[in-house]
């Protein structure tokens, strides 16, 4: 029963403290109700990750960082396809996908990973990712819980933003989020160094991160700390 599931998950969110729920707490609820090792919520726009609204821990944060860097992974696919994307055995997938994402995710201990789109009606705002530290399919119950949890998360995110004035990000969404501001600072610097546009500078940063098998945020931090330059000058 979807109604019962919904009530149970909503009860999990409302801990009775009367305080506003944050995006990070939502991730915790998504993890608990599905019995997974970790969860994260990624905001997306125009087929690309905008950043992470929240995660339950370091591994989930890495799953989102990797997708942000590489532009591939369960959230990206779930968002683009508009349906759940299930990989119950990342080490031995039935159909290999996510060539760049898979290696580092396995190294971090991810064995199964699942993406669920966050949407209301036809409006899609991002995706929920769940991971497990051992391979295995989601049970029907877990799958149904994840779908309802993603729906509730989508509503909750918009309700949080609805309270904020236009042009300002709601504090409940900002808290615990990672919108990779350092990457955009670095893009601004690289665009001055190379005299190119911002979009081009971002492409150069991504290409560098990919070629050196590093996270975009790490490369960006080096640029901002002036340890790395993209022109001929010595840092």
């Amino acid at each position: 029963m979807t109604g019962g599931r919904r009530r149970r998950i909503l009860a999990e969110i409302d801990d009775g403290s009367g305080t506003e729920v944050t995006a990070v707490e939502l991730c915790g609820v998504c993890r608990r109700v599905t019995g997974m090792s970790g969860a994260g919520i990624m905001l997306m726009s125009g087929d690309l990750p905008l950043g992470s609204l929240g995660t339950t821990g370091a591994v989930s944060a890495l799953i989102e960082d990797l997708q942000y860097t590489l532009g591939e992974g369960p959230c990206v696919d779930a968002y683009q396809l508009g349906r759940p994307v299930l990989e119950p055995d990342l080490a031995d997938p039935a159909v290999p996908r996510w060539m760049a994402f898979t290696g580092p995710a396995l190294d971090a201990g991810v064995r199964a990973v699942f993406g669920f789109p966050l949407e209301i009606g036809g409006v899609r705002l991002g995706a929920l990712d769940l991971f497990a530290d051992r391979p295995g399919r989601l049970s029907d119950d877990q799958h149904a819980d994840a779908l309802v949890a993603a729906d509730i998360s989508a509503e909750a995110v918009l309700v949080m933003q609805a309270k904020e004035s236009v042009g300002v990000l709601a504090p409940e969404l900002e808290r615990g989020s990672n919108f990779q501001y350092v990457v955009h600072q670095a893009a601004g610097m690289v665009c001055s160094q190379l005299d190119v546009g911002i979009a081009q500078a971002l492409v150069r940063l991504r290409a560098y991160a990919f070629a050196h098998q590093r996270l975009l945020a790490e490369v960006a931090a080096d640029v901002v700390a002036r340890r790395l330059r993209f022109d001929d000058r010595d840092p």
Binding site: L43, F179, Q185, G188, M189, Q193, I198
Partner: protein, 239 residues
């Protein structure tokens, strides 16, 4: 075609209109027309409440009905108005006997040739969003089966409108969310441009952007956008 067939067709038609390019006026105009085709009523019209709770005429099956409904909404009295306020159906009110209830509306309706008024709420889970108005020229009460069928059609339209509103609210909010985030991103980009060109750290870069915006009475987001797209040179920023 028998009445049941027409009714089934009306439901299919309403459902069809929900798929693509949903248009409230279109949906409710169909509903008004079908009420007249199927039920024993001479005219039908629909009013929806605005965000401020004011009733607006959305659809009418005829010009006479439209004029009457406009009058009803201006005079702020009549079957639709009462039905919307109470959320309860009004059936079989004889217009030549209700002078005291609707002293302005009733004479106008009688003058236009109508004898009885009926209004059904557009209502879902305690929320009333408008009302369906029907007027008859014949003697006698409206058929009970007609009342039930008309309410069912109004219910379908109500669900469609509420669903459409929820989705378009979500669309607006999602756009606001993305917009807020993009504003932040552009400011970070501009900080990077200034930090590199002026050889300052991020904090100093931000201070320069803010100072320039304040001095020139501009929005920080606009200054940041001009800097990151190189419309405004870093050397042109106030020191």
């Amino acid at each position: 075609m028998p009445r049941e067939g027409l009714l089934a067709q009306a439901f299919v038609e309403l459902a069809d209109s929900l798929v693509d390019n949903f248009d409230v006026v279109d949906l409710l105009t169909r509903l008004a027309d079908r009420c007249v085709d199927i039920m024993d009523v001479a005219a039908a019209g629909l009013m929806l409440a605005s965000a401020g709770g004011e009733l607006r005429v959305i659809a009418s099956s005829s010009e006479a009905m439209r004029v009457l409904e406009l009058f009803e909404s201006q005079a702020d009295e009549g079957p639709c108005v009462d039905c919307y306020r109470t959320g309860q159906p009004i059936v079989n009110l004889r217009l030549d006997e209700v002078d005291s209830r609707w002293p302005l509306f009733a004479p106008k309706a009688v003058e236009a040739g109508f004898r009885s008024a009926h209004a059904l709420p557009m209502r879902l889970r305690g929320q009333t969003i408008g009302a369906l108005n029907m007027l008859r020229v014949d003697e006698g009460p409206m058929l009970e089966t007609d009342v039930v069928a008309a309410q069912a059609l109004a219910d379908v339209a109500t669900i469609a409108i509420l669903q459409h509103r929820a989705v378009s609210d979500a669309q607006d909010l999602n756009e606001q969310l993305t917009q807020a985030l993009n504003t932040r991103i552009v400011i970070e980009q501009a900080k990077g441009v200034v930090a590199e060109r002026a050889e300052v750290d991020m904090e100093q870069a931000f201070a320069r952007l803010r100072r320039h915006a304040r001095n020139h009475n501009l929005r920080l987001a606009d200054v940041a956008n001009a800097v990151s797209t190189k419309v405004l040179a870093v050397t042109a920023l106030d020191a």
